[in-house]
Amino acid sequence: MYSVNYHRAASVTDAAKLVKNGDAKLLSGGMTLIPAMKTRLAAPSDLVDLSRIKELQGVKVSGKTITIGGGTTHYEVASDEKLKKACPALAHLASLIGDPAVRHKGTIGGSIANNDPAADYPAALLALDGTIVTNKREIAADKFFKGLFETALKDGEIITAVTFTAPAKAAYEKFRNPASRYAIVGVFVAKGKDGVRAAVTGAGDDGVFRSKEIEAALAKNFAASVLDGMKVPAKNLMSDIHASADYRANLIAVMAKRAVAAANA
């Protein structure tokens, strides 16, 4: 790791000032950024640590509205009793990220800001028609995820929370790489008041995306059986040493079917 200057932010306002230092990066759980710095893939001059900012932490459920602070760890999301009742699919998703020690540090805000093409949370936020709240504005998930590791965030903009309406039904299923445990394909399906949304992670060559074919099939009937024999086009899907685009296309249909079955269970 190259030399770096560490700053601990006391508040979001404080962090917004500190992040103007040199080529600074925001540090939340550090579960991606620190490994990237160790391998010198990232070399910020300064780090602004958000992890001690209380206002960024916690899950709030108010009627159907769920708000999760950007600094809330995967462990807290996975074990929050209110969330387990209001949107068990998201709590379950958080319990599948990394391993227990990683979940104790990694945060929802950090994961979304990084927008790894195989990360789990982007699929959830997109399928739940969520909103990303920053220290400057609110951004719809549909406009937030811009491609591989790209988001609508401007330099120094800080995710303070994510918010969404609890769906009537939802579930997440992922097919994991046996070594890295990242999603080769993950599908989050949600049936909300405005219809069915299905978002796919791990597979798109431009990051997380909504599957039109699966959404169209489920809009008529939210049942796993409507996805029998479903063909998802392999165009614009990733091919790599882990899986070909055709294999991923098939897995999208399989994971979507399992997710719908779980959502209806």
Binding site: S3, I34, Y75, P100
Partner: protein, 166 residues
């Protein structure tokens, strides 16, 4: 450079370290606590697991300065003198180690796991929760047995004179 102040195994300690110093290196090199190991250095193997403010974390993926102000428990702080912690005693009893390299991380992860599951553990849960700890010798069977046994011992409150995990 930053001043790093921690409470490690119940003792207040401080030292000056470069901001890029990882917590595991601070523990091993500044404090001489070499029980915490570096295996993969890529947050996968879990040999470096310690507890920070009561939660298991990978100390190779956290800066020492990030932990400043926190309470840290390492493998050296688990036993009470000659009295092994129930998890250590169970690893000994059930032969949950061979070369021993992964053992400090395994024991710290296991202690955290048992603390998070006061309702008790079953074999499937233990295996899933050991996701982030790799052992290349044992094949895990005896590690799983040891954790299940320690979970039962600890739920009975038979903690002996050993300190509870922070």
């Amino acid at each position: 450079m930053s001043e790093v102040s921690l409470t490690v195994n119940g003792k207040r300690v401080s030292g000056v370290a470069e901001d890029r110093t990882l917590l595991v290196h601070f523990l091993r090199e500044n404090l001489g606590l070499t029980g915490t190991h570096v295996g993969c250095d890529t947050s996968q193997c879990g040999a470096c697991v310690v507890h920070v403010d009561g939660k298991a974390v990978k100390s190779c993926t956290m800066l020492a300065v990030q932990a400043s102000g926190s309470t840290v428990l390492t493998i050296e702080g688990l036993a009470n003198g000659a009295d092994l912690h129930p998890v250590q005693a169970a690893f000994k009893e059930h032969h949950g180690l061979q070369c021993g390299f992964c053992t400090p991380g395994m024991i710290m992860a296991a202690t955290d796991m048992i603390n998070r599951h006061p309702e008790g553990l079953d074999e499937a849960t233990v295996r899933v929760e050991l996701e982030g700890n790799i052992c290349r010798c044992t094949g895990y069977h005896n590690i799983v047995k040891a954790i299940l046994a320690a979970s039962v011992t600890m739920s009975k409150g038979a903690k002996g004179k050993a300190k509870q995990a922070a």
